[in-house]
Symmetry: C2
Subunit: 162 residues, 2 copies
Amino acid sequence: MNLKSQVEWALHCCAILAGLPEGRYLSTKALAEFHGLPKEYLSKALQGLSQAGLVNTTLGPTGGYRLARMPAELTFLDIVEAVEGKSRTFICNDIRANNPCRPAGFCEEGPCAIARIMWEADEAWREKLRSVKLSDLVETLSKDIPRDLWKSSFEWVLDRAG
Amino acid sequence: MNLKSQVEWALHCCAILAGLPEGRYLSTKALAEFHGLPKEYLSKALQGLSQAGLVNTTLGPTGGYRLARMPAELTFLDIVEAVEGKSRTFICNDIRANNPCRPAGFCEEGPCAIARIMWEADEAWREKLRSVKLSDLVETLSKDIPRDLWKSSFEWVLDRAG
DNA sequence: GCACCACTACTCGGATAATAACTGTCCGAGTGTTGTTGG
DNA sequence: CCAACAACACTCGGACAGTTATTATCCGAGTAGTGGTGC
């Protein structure tokens, strides 16, 4: 069970979009080139973000994507769920219902104890992702990345932002 | 990204094995019949437990599986990792390395900031699973399941335990 | 010189194939039981 | 009656197909910019 690589791509793209000046858009082509990714497929990840309402889009020559909210209002969980879906990772098939000892009309109430525990772990994962905002990531990146590279990357993006 | 159903099966099977008297074994056939699962495939999940050293096996007519440790010494994480593998759910392909603005010989140090955050969430998930012991599950189940069903199931298992 | 208009080029979005992972099935190697035979 | 032995039946373990999800690709609908044209 691995998260799809789309999640990684979407997070990186959001980090870039967070640095975009107000009102400007960045195209899939530019994002794909910057990260060395297949343009056509990256597009699908961005579609996910768009459908979830996390980014706005515009068509035409200067079109592309931009964040729909401030980076402080966007959590990792928002982005991950937009791409990966909101369903739980553990699916309970209720196999306890197959117990041959069960009386005929017997009907268990409430979710299986095993499912409850697995779902709690799921929720812990989500809670962690919910606690990290996109603005936190940008702040961390600004410390990690050498000033020169940070600046030149910013200009590279600006040159291509419509 | 869903956990494989094998994880669910393994957890249920361990819950049953936890109630097995000392020194007795329960076969894949019995476990499969009890849960209404394909015997051949369930076998693969139990193989995972066996290879991880969580259960002991014996061959022959009265053979099968039994827990290798006390239920209080077995965590959910042990079982989940035995079936699902220990690798992280988020895989960092280090796409930041493709940044066209990077100097030629430049080499990033340390893992990507995005990967660090995703791995922390992973760890939160693992920590939750690590905190729940198999004995805890058995305790919960003994409260959830009606006494009659609990007892008849126990006898059903005992009849088939070698 | 300026406003209008048609065209172009570029964008996103959904529909369509290739690949990998999960699910399900089969058969062989090995072992404990059991029935038989001899003492 | 008891012990040794051989055949057997049942077990686990790894090797082999079928189905679903992920990855990758393509093409069409739509729009903002651009150049030309008429006033």
